[in-house]
């Protein structure tokens, strides 16, 4: 059956219509492909690259911190950081929902964290961190769901590891994510971990190292297929501290054993190398290592005992009787008296028309300087204070390192305050009344000092007049082996007269080894020398007013010491917070000194025995000193009350 011509024509024309349509469509397709592949190719190449290439930051481990014997104090461990890759995430809300469920986290909390992160870090190629320091279990659960969650990354990150029991926490400080300022000023990335406190902060530039980067090929489910390029991170410099791990432990054990908080700074008086730096209570720096939880941070800040406060450098207290050492030094070096100068103590004396009491009711009788130090006779030092005047006391306080800052290489040190006439005129606009000097002479009044400066003072007394600068770093490994850090410049050098050194050392030796208040620090054959002191928390009238509040009004105790008496090798301070008596700090010093010698002589280190609860309290000549005539009548009941408080505390 042959198609009629009419049919042929119709078929031919309609086929031509179809043909034209097809050709037009194919031409249009060719143009589309030309636009995509030739005109816009750069844009799509970039998109394809960001699909399969991922740049991962390789965080540099921070430099290891070692103790003076080369034992590792602060190291790094691997932790897992879980984050969401913002570039490949299609639905952030959904991803957050699933991730929170898998990790067992609060979805709202995760959402808030991610949103805060994204606000702070606009660069989209930086993954938003969901969880730092994830547990192994969380990582395994996530790996099992990897196919559904290709945009969720698990990175192994070196994280700071500090010793247990918050050892030397305030010395090490802690690390944290760089703040806005640090990012701007230091040219750091927002994810950078920097030192925020302590050695971590001061030596951050050395410790930080340099982050590396890795450019990898990933497939559509986020699996790494290949590494295109890798820049290895450079580990931070190793830093050797002057700290002695054994002594540090001994001091902190001593505090725990004694049952009070406080601070200790113990150093080598010849060099200023810090052997022990302790502040109790402490925080656990490990809590900060992988980003601190807000609840932990809030708890630390709200804690009434203020564990974040470094009492060694940031606590300022009245030095009490330990200040008598300064007055004695000043009087001897100024040549006003010699060590045999005697004062008659009848239990009190009149100065500038007022009666000031000694703590011993019957008085010490006729007493020379050595015994005045031993017995802590107030009348003796009132007399020296009257002879010196406040400005000469200030001068010698400064020479001994007690006024101002010690210059230690740790952050946030506050200045110790020893008053003088110029200072008073400047701050209050009033002139100095000579009567005020009498209070200052026994470490009362406006004198407030940090434990660090008191340690500096006793070290200067111990070494015979050289005011060293305490420091905590011994050597740095810049990559070419250990390089010792040059000793910090000596702040001041005054060679004391030999008679001065002999009198001071004898008196301080007698405090511990004869009839003084430091007998609990006595170690046969070691000639420990020292002085106790009490820092009043509140004046006697204030105490009466504050009764009934929950403030802890118990006095602080001091014990400054060095050993041995001649050519001392160790010196420092024990601050017993609300410890009531300075002599209660002495056993801590004793334990540290015993450890020091045991180590030096290769004997087993001493261990603290269980507390002997039967130890009788000592009479404490440092207890509430008497300043005002009004208070004199009240003196008896106050000290009785404080005895009661102590007995309850024990």
């Amino acid at each position: 059956m042959v198609a009629p011509t009419e049919d042929r024509r119709r078929i031919a024309s309609r086929v031509s219509v179809l043909q034209a349509g097809v050709i037009v469509w194919f031409a249009a397709l060719a143009i589309c492909f030309w636009v995509l592949q030739v005109v816009q190719t750069d844009k799509y190449v970039e998109m394809a690259n960001s699909n399969y290439q991922r740049t991962l930051a390789l965080r540099a481990p921070r430099g290891v911190l070692l103790d003076r014997d080369g034992r590792v104090l602060v190291d790094n461990r691997d932790s897992f950081t879980i984050s969401i890759d913002r570039e490949t995430t299609k639905d952030m809300a959904e991803t957050i929902r699933v991730v929170s469920a898998v990790l067992g986290l609060n979805e709202e909390q995760v959402k808030e964290n991610v949103e805060r992160y994204i606000r702070a870090e606009p660069a989209p190629y930086r993954p938003a961190i969901v969880l730092e320091d994830a547990t192994l279990e969380q990582v395994m659960r996530l790996k099992a769901r990897k196919r559904e969650l290709p945009e969720v990354l698990v990175e192994q990150v070196p994280t700071r590891q500090y010793p247990g029991e918050a050892l030397a926490a305030h010395l090490f400080g802690y690390v944290g994510q760089a703040s806005e300022d640090e990012v701007r000023d230091g040219g750091l990335s927002r994810n950078a971990i920097v030192g925020k406190f302590g050695v971590e902060k001061v030596y951050n530039a050395l410790l930080m190292g340099e982050d590396g980067a890795k450019r990898v090929v990933v497939n559509s489910v986020g699996r790494e297929i290949d590494t295109l390029e890798q820049i290895d991170p450079t580990e931070g410099r190793r830093v050797q501290l002057t700290i002695d791990l054994d002594l540090q432990k001994a001091a902190e054990d001593g505090f725990r054993h004694a049952g009070f908080n406080g601070a200790a700074l113990i150093m080598d008086p010849r060099t200023g190398e810090v052997l022990v730096h302790a502040s109790m209570p402490a925080y656990d720096p490990n809590d900060f290592a992988a980003g601190i939880k807000r609840t932990t941070w809030d708890a630390l800040n709200k804690d009434k005992l203020r564990p974040l406060n470094n009492r060694v450098l940031q606590g300022r207290y009245s030095p009490g009787s330990t200040f008598k050492i300064v007055v004695a030094t000043a009087a001897l070096e100024e040549g006003l008296v010699d060590p045999d100068y005697r004062v008659h103590c009848s239990g009190g004396a009149n100065f500038y028309g007022r009666y000031y009491k000694c703590h011993l009711k019957g008085g010490h009788g006729s007493i020379d300087m050595r015994h005045a130090i031993e017995k802590s006779c107030n009348v003796y030092f009132y007399t020296l204070g009257e002879k010196l005047g406040v400005d000469r006391i200030y001068k010698w306080a400064e020479k001994l390192g007690l006024a101002g800052k010690t210059g230690i290489d740790l952050p946030n040190e506050i200045a110790s305050l020893v008053p003088n006439t110029e200072w008073k005129l400047k701050t209050t606009g009033q002139r100095w009344y000579p009567g005020e000097t009498i209070s200052v002479a026994i470490g009362q009044g406006q004198v407030t000092v940090t434990p660090a400066s008191l340690a500096n003072m006793i070290a200067t007394v111990a070494n015979g007049g050289t005011r060293v600068t305490p420091h905590v770093v011994k050597a740095i490994d810049e990559g070419k082996g250990w390089k010792p850090v040059p000793l910090a410049a000596v702040a001041d050098r005054v060679a004391f007269k030999p008679t001065t050194v002999a009198a001071l050392h004898d008196g301080l030796w007698m405090v511990v080894n004869a009839a003084g208040t430091g007998v609990r620090g006595k170690i046969p054959g070691r000639d420990v020398s020292g002085k106790t002191g009490t820092a009043q928390v509140i004046s006697n009238e204030g105490r009466a007013r504050a009764r009934g509040t929950d403030r802890d009004l118990r006095d602080h105790g001091w014990f400054v010491f060095f050993a041995p008496k001649d050519n001392p090798v160790i010196a420092g301070v024990i601050f017993a917070e609300h410890g009531l008596h300075g002599y209660l700090g002495a056993p801590i010093a004793k334990h540290v000194i015993e450890t020091y010698y045991a180590k030096k002589e290769g004997r087993p280190l001493p261990v603290l025995e269980n507390k002997n609860t039967n130890e009788p309290p000592l009479a404490d000549p440092d207890s509430p000193p008497v300043l005002e005539p009004v208070a004199v009548a009240d003196a008896r009941p106050v000290s009785a009350r404080s005895m009661t408080a102590r007995n309850t505390a024990r």
Binding site: A3, E6, V15, Q19, F26, Q37, K90, D91
Partner: protein
């Protein structure tokens, strides 16, 4: 049956173009499915499909298309039966029931429905006494198309079902449907679109279309594929990234790179140059086929060519448009290139019919 002289009337140029497209597809499947342990099993399956396809093509050539068209009602009944069989006993994969298990391979009857429908419609309109077509003829043609179409919809496989529609319209169009009616139908279709949107389409289908208009609204599902397809094509650039060097296809950012999106993968690895070559080959095959329709000895021959070509062209055009991320994502294969045994064999059988018509243009 197969006289020697007919051998000289075979359109060898078109056979060559078809074979080249099959080989380009094969190379692309090799690249897209290659595993660390060598070529994937899909690669060998495709070789077999091409071989079987050409055997079937030869067989189809051996019989005069007129006698095939005469027997087409048997084929039609067989296909309808097979489609019903699929719904009852078919193999379920990915949520739809499209395959009959034949032991070593699965057969997808819906692929063969296209050529069968073309044969039946060619016979129906070819036998019409007058050159013009009555309204009842349109109705009958519509019913003939609707039966397999609805059966395929039930699998469900809307993509393949829709490819039957161009068969009916192409045949009717060339068979002489008046342009007026054509225009009316077009207007009705446009007016019906919102109604269909509201009642006929399933939610996931609506989503596909709205996603096409705004891919970022479903950046994880269909929108993701569309975006990735465009990135794949665009990043190929003028000359491509090279054989097995395409990051989008090799690293699986582009889904089903050996099947629905094979053209995107090809565009990535061989660039605009490769695209132009492939497009040219397809256009050549289509234009040569249209010529065969013009040259056909009788109306039935023309209608048969156009019926077969209509679904082929529709599928090629749609898939390539989609592979550039310019059409909503729909699970359709690219004939001759995509992986798939049934599709390959049915397509080659269809070209057997087209070659058949051209070859026998001088015979009585």
């Amino acid at each position: 049956m197969f006289e020697r002289r007919l051998y000289h009337h075979v359109d060898w140029a078109m056979v060559g173009a078809i074979l080249t497209l099959c080989l380009i597809g094969l190379v692309q499947i090799y690249s897209a499915t290659y595993t660390d342990n060598g070529p994937h099993a899909n690669f060998y399956t495709q070789i077999w499909a091409i071989l079987i396809g050409f055997i079937v093509l030869t067989l189809v050539l051996a019989f005069d298309y007129r006698s095939l068209a005469d027997k087409s009602h048997f084929l039609y009944i067989a296909i309808v039966a097979a489609l019903i069989g699929v719904l009852l006993f078919g193999v379920v994969r990915g949520g739809s029931r499209r395959w009959i298990d034949l032991g070593p391979m699965n057969l997808q009857p819906s692929e063969f429905a296209k050529a069968t429908l073309a044969l039946v419609l060619a016979k129906f309109f070819g036998e019409a006494r007058r050159g013009t077509v009555a309204r009842t003829d349109f109705l009958i043609a519509t019913v003939i198309t609707a039966v397999p179409l609805l059966l395929i919809t039930q699998q469900p496989d809307l993509g393949t079902a829709v490819t039957l529609v161009p068969v009916r319209f192409a045949v009717v169009f060339v068979a002489g449907m008046s342009m007026r009616i054509f225009g009316i139908l077009a207007v009705v279709a446009i007016l019906a679109a919102p109604v269909a949107w509201k009642f006929a389409l399933q939610d996931y289908q609506k989503e596909r279309i709205s996603t096409f208009i705004n891919p970022s609204q479903d950046a994880k599902g269909a929108g993701y594929q569309q975006i990735q397809a465009r990135i794949t094509v665009g990043s190929g650039g003028p000359f491509g990234k090279g054989f097995r060097e395409g990051t989008q296809g090799q690293l699986r950012f582009l889904p089903v790179a050996h099947n629905d999106f094979i053209f995107s993968a090809c565009a990535e690895e061989h660039g605009f140059v490769g695209v132009v070559v492939a497009l040219g080959l397809y256009l050549f095959v289509i234009v040569r086929s249209l010529e065969a329709a013009r040259l056909a000895k009788d109306r039935a021959g023309s209608y048969l060519v156009l019926g077969v070509l209509a679904s082929f062209t529709f599928q090629v055009v749609y898939t390539i448009t989609m592979s550039a991320g310019l059409a909503p994502v729909k699970g359709l294969t690219l004939p001759l290139m995509s992986y798939g045994g049934s599709s390959m064999i049915a397509t080659l059988a269809g070209f057997g019919l087209i070659l058949n018509v051209r070859m026998r243009r001088f015979t009585n």
